[in-house]
């Protein structure tokens, strides 16, 4: 039978005496303090502030660094290409936004067409380049 972890802790505390428990409820000390100071003073009223826990907006790497994909920049484009097939990885792997993914894809086609980038492989000299993402751990599951 599975045991509820909190129940387990409580049981243990009863048997072994005082021990540290996760703070689920306000501790009695803070509750008392609130009762003493609350009510009478208006300066203690809650003030409206921006949500301090709001997370920063997630931005893709090209938008963050403000990089414009260009067909002459083969080294950059090669980072989004599979070394096994020469095809560009999907959006769930590259972690680019929709617009940037489309732009990079079109620049890769241009570059291949102009004879700057190979079709069926990645240039061997770029194989050691730093990895921007891990193809084995996509952001989202593969659609097929």
């Amino acid at each position: 039978m599975m045991q509820n972890p909190i129940y387990f802790l409580l049981k243990q505390s009863r048997s072994t005496g005082p021990m540290l428990l996760p703070r689920l409820v306000h501790s009695s000390v803070t509750l008392q303090r609130n009762a003493e100071s609350g009510g009478a003073e208006t300066s203690d009223m809650p003030i409206e502030i921006e949500n301090p826990f709001k997370k920063e907006k997630v931005v893709c790497i090209l938008c963050k660094m403000k990089i414009e994909p260009d067909y002459k920049n083969v080294r950059l484009l090669s980072q989004f290409v599979s070394p096994f097939t020469g095809l560009m990885y999907g959006r769930h792997i590259t972690g680019l936004c929709k617009t940037q993914q489309e732009r990079v894809a079109s620049e890769i086609t241009k570059s291949q067409n102009a004879g700057m980038m190979p079709y069926y492989n990645k240039e061997p000299e770029f194989l050691e380049d730093p990895k921007l993402f891990n193809p084995d751990r996509p952001v989202r599951n593969h659609e097929y």
């Binding site: 907006k57 997630v58 931005v59 893709c60 938008c63 963050k64 414009e68 260009d70 067909y71 002459k72 959006r91 972690g95 680019l96 936004c97 929709k98 617009t99 940037q100 732009r103 241009k110 067409n113 102009a114 004879g115 700057m116 980038m117 190979p118 079709y119 240039e123 952001v139």
Partner: protein, 151 residues
């Protein structure tokens, strides 16, 4: 007039001959009423795939990019003139990318499906399609709420 880029792969040859070929290409642009803004030399290197042109198989090339401005109707002429040049292995004309103003939408794309704007739109479209907007179903006018005959 728009700015274009003519990317050319030249046959490997000495510097003086390269200059002659570039001159030929640029005069063909001038003849069509174009202006050359910049000529970039991307250097000589091994091509990513071998290319045969004018009866010769090439594995190395000199990379050049000429950015120019020319009337769009004359681009075909410039391209065909370069195509006929024996010393040019491959040439392409591309439009220069304009500065794109867009917001990164990665955050919305990473949300779970029912919160993604594109999925919301898809669901709405499917609902509209199910209703058959603008189409009416046939009415039998029998006064019955069921179909009285054998189907």
């Amino acid at each position: 007039m728009l700015t274009y880029e003519l990317s050319m792969l030249l046959r490997t040859m000495p510097k003086e001959e390269l200059a002659v070929v570039l001159k030929r290409a640029s005069t063909s642009i001038f003849n069509q009423g174009g202006i050359i803004r910049n000529i970039d030399n991307l250097g000589a290197r091994k091509m990513p795939y071998k290319t045969s042109n004018h009866g010769v198989v090439h594995k190395q090339a000199h990379y050049f990019v000429i950015s120019f401005t020319a009337p769009p109707s004359k681009l075909v002429t410039i391209e065909s003139e370069c195509h006929r040049d024996v010393d040019i292995i491959r040439n392409r004309i591309f439009k220069v990318n304009e500065n794109a103003n867009f917001e990164c939408t990665l955050e919305e794309e990473l949300k779970p499906p029912p919160y993604r704007p594109e999925v919301i739109k898809m669901i709405e479209d499917a609902r509209k399609k199910g209703k058959k907007v603008g189409k009416s179903t046939f009415k039998f006018n029998t006064g019955l709420d069921y179909y009285p005959f054998q189907r």
